[in-house]
């Protein structure tokens, strides 16, 4: 009996060791891929950091209307943020290549699905970036226009427009990624409707003074049509 137990133990140990041994090349390949990707990421980061510094990227980002990006970045530098993002993307790609070296069915399927998902991720990123740029541009246009029209709620209008566009962009991005499904659509409807209602109420209530000012001006224009305009610009 003890012989049989010993044999079973030896067999299971051999099986275990051979399984571990079969995993070793994959593990070494994963490690090698990781080391290579870290090396490539490091070189890429160095080149990118120098290039971005040479075009004064941090200042340009602020001028393009993204001063807040500096606040989210490590050491308040958008250059560092971009280089670190690139480093992590390269390391992730190296990791995926290493995983696929295991040649197991599950990891390979995982990698294939991940790569198939990448175009959607890229589209979502583009939508988010474009949405952010458009939101800032429109918010600034509305703010300046509303201040020039002497509207007291100029800031509120500007923030409202910014959030409208941002919510729209985020919803499109999430839909593209296939996250949330119906809940996202419902949430978008509620949020969008809420913002529009809030803006409509704010504009409606705040416009009282604008309308009365405008009517006042019209009345004055007709009653004082013969009066000489004291101010001229050109």
């Amino acid at each position: 009996m003890w012989d049989q137990v010993g044999q079973a133990l030896r067999l299971s140990m051999t099986k275990m060791l051979s399984q571990i041994a079969s995993l070793l090349p994959g593990a070494v390949a994963l490690l090698t891929a990781l080391i290579f990707s870290v090396g490539i990421a490091w070189v890429l980061a160095a080149i990118l950091r120098r290039s971005l510094a040479s075009i004064d990227f941090d200042r340009r980002v602020a001028h393009w209307g993204f001063p807040r990006l500096a606040e989210w970045s490590p050491s308040s530098s958008p250059t560092l943020l971009v280089t670190r993002a690139i480093v992590w993307i390269v390391v992730l790609i190296g990791f995926l290549i290493g995983i696929s070296a295991f040649d197991g069915a599950l990891p390979t399927q995982f990698v294939i699905r991940l790569f198939a998902y990448l175009p959607d991720v890229l589209t979502a990123i583009v939508v988010l970036v474009a949405g952010s740029i458009i939101a800032r541009f429109l918010a600034r246009s509305v703010l300046i226009g509303a201040v020039n029209m002497n509207l007291q709620y100029a800031r509120l209008l500007s923030v409202g427009v910014k959030w409208l566009v941002t919510v729209l962009a985020v919803t499109i991005a999430l839909e593209r990624l296939g996250i949330g499904g119906g809940i996202i659509r419902l949430a978008f409807g509620i949020l969008f409707g809420g913002i529009v209602l809030a803006l409509a109420l704010a504009v409606g209530l705040g416009s009282k003074e604008l309308v009365s000012r405008s009517l006042e001006r019209e009345t004055r224009k007709t009653s004082e049509s013969n009066m000489k305009e004291p101010v001229g610009h050109l």
């Binding site: 001028h63 246009s141 300046i144 201040v147 800031r155 305009e229 004291p230 101010v231 001229g232 610009h233």
Partner: protein, 421 residues
């Protein structure tokens, strides 16, 4: 500059005429007058000259008819010959300023094509323009050899405020010439200057098109042309459209800043300024009707801007200026005064921001509106008890401030990042 805006029959007529001595542009679009009136007072002016001249009158007052340009030739051989050419009405959506600029381009092209010796353009409302205006603008060119005759109007103290607060002092500080109205809109030009304008326009055909109204005085100053002024009298102003003030500012200041950017190499070395010869007697002005301005609305706009536009102004103005503006926004109405140096530096910083494109140019130019209203309020409060002479000397002080702060502009222009007070 293109001839596209001139209808084909009239182009053929210009080809047939071959040459002329003078081109007169009557560009006031809201004029009640017509082409016949323009021809009449051009003929009246030409009749006063010792030698008969051939003249072409270009009208932009909506009198265009499909018929070819007509030659209005008097029977007498010694009498002047006047040809007419009417421009089609402005394109829909075109602002009055754009309409005048496009018409100016056409007048220059017609003048260049006919090889004229002189050109007189009246873009003010033409019911007030007479043959005396044409004479005042063209005489110094024909008889005294000047290349540019800029207009000098008789104004009430609150008229032409954008011109007084920015355009004239900026031109004076940049190019060293004290012109009352560097952007006209009524000018007299020599054939030589027209050719230079056409050549400059052709050389930057691929770049951003410049407004000829903003270019004329600076081309003359940079090209070493002889410049003078002529007293034209009282000019009827368009009623102020307060609703579209920011559009007006964007249009006018945008053109001026673009011109400034294109001639930076020239103006950086100029210091001080000189007065220019001025012809004609200034028209006597009826006393100020005594209309008082309510500055409350303007101050409200300024305060609203100071409260909401700090982020936008922060991209253009240095921190010390922002601090000063915040302090001013808290002052009560009777103490509110915008110091000359602060206003001058604001204008210079906006010009620099426009050049560096620190933010969208339209946003930048429109965001100056509350500051401009603040300046008007301060000027009105400061000069409300003053007469015309005192108000003019106040503007002279402001113009001196522009000259005194030019080193600030030059430093920031050359080293925008390093020199940031």
């Amino acid at each position: 500059m293109e001839l596209d805006s001139i209808p084909q029959p009239e182009l053929d007529q210009i080809e047939r005429i071959g040459g002329a001595d003078l081109v007169v542009g009557i560009l006031g679009t809201e004029s009640a007058g017509d082409g016949c009136g323009a021809v009449a007072f051009t003929r009246q002016f030409l009749a006063e000259l010792p030698t008969p001249l051939r003249a072409m009158v270009v009208c932009n007052n909506g009198t265009h008819s499909p018929a070819a340009a007509a030659a209005d030739v008097a029977g007498d051989k010694a009498s002047p010959t006047v040809f007419t050419c009417a421009l089609p009405p402005s394109a829909p959506g075109e602002t009055p300023q754009q309409g005048i600029s496009n018409a100016y381009r056409t007048v220059f092209v017609v003048g260049g094509k006919l090889g004229v010796r002189a050109c007189g353009v009246i873009a003010s409302r033409s019911q007030i323009a007479t043959s005396r205006w044409i004479s005042s603008l063209v005489h110094p060119v024909l008889d005294l050899g000047f290349d540019l005759v800029a207009p000098c109007y008789t104004r009430q103290k609150l008229e032409g405020l954008l011109n007084r607060s920015v355009l004239a002092p900026l031109h004076r500080a940049l190019y060293g010439q004290q012109l009352q109205n560097p952007m006209g809109p009524d000018f007299g030009l020599s054939g030589k200057l027209i050719h230079r304008m056409l050549a400059e326009d052709a050389s930057r055909r691929r770049g951003v098109p410049r407004d000829p109204l903003a270019s004329i005085a600076s081309v003359a100053a940079c090209g070493g042309f002889q410049v003078c002024e002529s007293n034209l009298g009282i000019r009827t102003q368009r009623p102020t459209d307060w609703e579209n003030l920011s559009s007006l500012l964007a249009e006018v200041l945008g053109a001026a800043f673009l011109e400034m950017e294109g001639r930076a190499a020239h103006w950086q070395s100029i210091r001080g300024s000189q007065t220019l010869p001025r012809f004609g007697q200034p028209e006597a002005l009826s006393p100020d009707p005594g209309t008082t301005m309510d500055v409350h609305g303007m101050l409200e706009s300024f305060r609203l801007g100071a409260k909401n536009l700090q982020d936008v102004w922060g991209l253009i103005l240095p921190p010390t200026t922002l601090l000063e503006l915040r302090r001013l926004s808290r002052l009560p109405e009777n103490q509110f005064r915008l110091p000359d140096q602060l206003w001058v530096r604001i204008v210079y910083d906006f010009a620099l921001g426009h050049r560096l494109q620190t933010l969208n140019r339209d946003h930048l130019l429109r965001s100056i509106t509350p500051l401009y209203l603040g300046w008007i309020a301060s000027h009105v409060l400061e000069t409300q008890a003053d007469g015309l002479v005192e108000a003019e000397s106040r503007i002279e002080r402001l113009s001196k401030a522009y000259e005194d702060n030019k080193s600030y502009l030059v430093s920031r222009w050359r080293w925008p990042d390093r020199f940031n007070p």
